[in-house]
């Protein structure tokens, strides 16, 4: 029997936050393509893929008390693998298949041997794609930065 310490939990949670974020921000096709074949028998659905809403909140004045801005569709799914490992997914949008794939991948990422493989084949390319997408947008935005030059008044 293994025992977890609080810092293990925190580290695990942080790692899990990282991949769950990446799954949410990535294309469904990449996630579905990464599902290992022959997994269907092993996956038990705890919470079938379903679309619902998340109320997105802002803060008054940007930093004050919260208020409700509007809703965002989200697909969620929870699965368990045969060994009892549970995977969850909440991904913005209405793509139930993406939620299912993300939940299965979340469970697989908690298994050390599967994780090592997925880090290489899935996480690394997804991270790189997200970074590249953001970098390209940032570069276009940067080209619109204003360079002020002060007019020297001659007298």
């Amino acid at each position: 029997m293994t025992r977890c310490t609080a810092s293990d939990d925190a580290a695990n949670a942080a790692a899990r936050q990282g991949w769950m974020r990446l799954f949410a921000l990535s294309d469904a096709a990449a996630l579905e393509a990464a599902l290992p074949g022959g997994l269907a028998d092993e996956v038990r659905v705890l919470r079938a893929p379903e679309v619902g809403l998340v109320m997105v909140r802002g803060r008054t004045g940007g930093g004050g008390a919260p208020f409700n801005l509007g809703e965002m569709p989200v697909a969620r799914c929870s699965v368990a693998l045969a060994d009892g490992t549970v995977g969850h997914a909440y991904v913005a949008g209405r793509d139930r298949a993406k939620a299912r794939a993300a939940a299965i991948l979340d469970a697989l990422m908690q298994r050390p041997e599967a994780r090592a493989e997925l880090e290489r084949t899935l996480i690394a390319p997804l991270s790189a794609a997200l970074a590249a997408r953001r970098q390209a947008a940032a570069e276009k935005t940067a080209a619109t930065r204003v360079d002020f030059f002060t007019m020297v008044r001659g007298d």
Binding site: M55, G70, R94
Partner: protein, 357 residues
Amino acid sequence: MYVAVKGGEKAIDNAHALLAEERRGDPAVPELSIAQIKEQMTLAVDRVMSEGSLYDADLAALALKQARGDAVEAIFLLRAYRTTLPRFAASLPVDTAKMTINRRISATFKDLPGGQVLGPTFDYTHRLLDFSLMADAAEAPRAAAAPADDAAMPRVVDILNHEGLIEADSAPADAEPGDLTREPLTFPAGRDLRLQNLARGDEGFVLALAYSSQRGFGNNHPFAGEIRLGGVEVEIVPEELGFPIVIGEAELTECHMITQFTGSKTQPPQFTRGYGLTFGRNERKAMAMAIVDRSLRAGEFDEERRFPAQDEEFVLGHSDNVEASGFLQHLKLPHYVDFQGELVNVRALRAEAETVR
């Protein structure tokens, strides 16, 4: 006597068939795809998402297609759709200071950490029709690129407030904000409910109120402290996990308006703030919202409430275009009995008046 009226089913069916045909237009012209609307009518899509209060560009594009481009009808469709879905959670409040910036300007401070970044703006265009868009484009336009540093873009009002001359945000409260989609609006409404209402409110209505305030129907001479547009990551804390996870990204427009305030018995002279935040790219709406937010805070600053933009019940009660449109359009429903009653009444009054004469 109340007379129930039935009939017209055939006419209604045929009217809908005619609507469908006219929506499609000339079949010789290729049909619009949802992707085309989403990619090329982005600001219409963003308005529908914002006032439809549902962040889903595909559905907003579909709604626009189905509504033949009628924004208010499309907003209605989106609002109706959202009622069919369960709510799973509320997000953590988004942190707009961590936005991936697409545009960020300030009209009050020239030199900002992170700089002034124009982004994709209609400002400085000459508003001349571009007839080249009538022809099939030879190739897609390409934006310029420049090296991007990772400079942080803190909120202008936060970083330039060393002297305490600008009103600080109210302390971040953990209080559960009111939700007007769950509980009917009552007055006085808190600022949380006012901002939710304005964020969903009709752009034209909010714009007109802001304009009225600027023109003197309200005590408001605002400066655009900051306008920013970009993406924020949306996080929730699922109970089964117990820690926050990112579920996706939302593009938002945020505006801080800064208004001079001469002080009151209890407060020193300072700059006060109005706040606007919308889904998508809605700069005009976010700016107008920030001005109206400030106008509605008149009571907080012991300002006399004299004008429509300062009147909470007037503003919040009339800002919603789905409600307004519904109440207006109900006049098309049969009022035969009501009208018959009034007719009898007017005839009687007239007969009476003629006897007297």
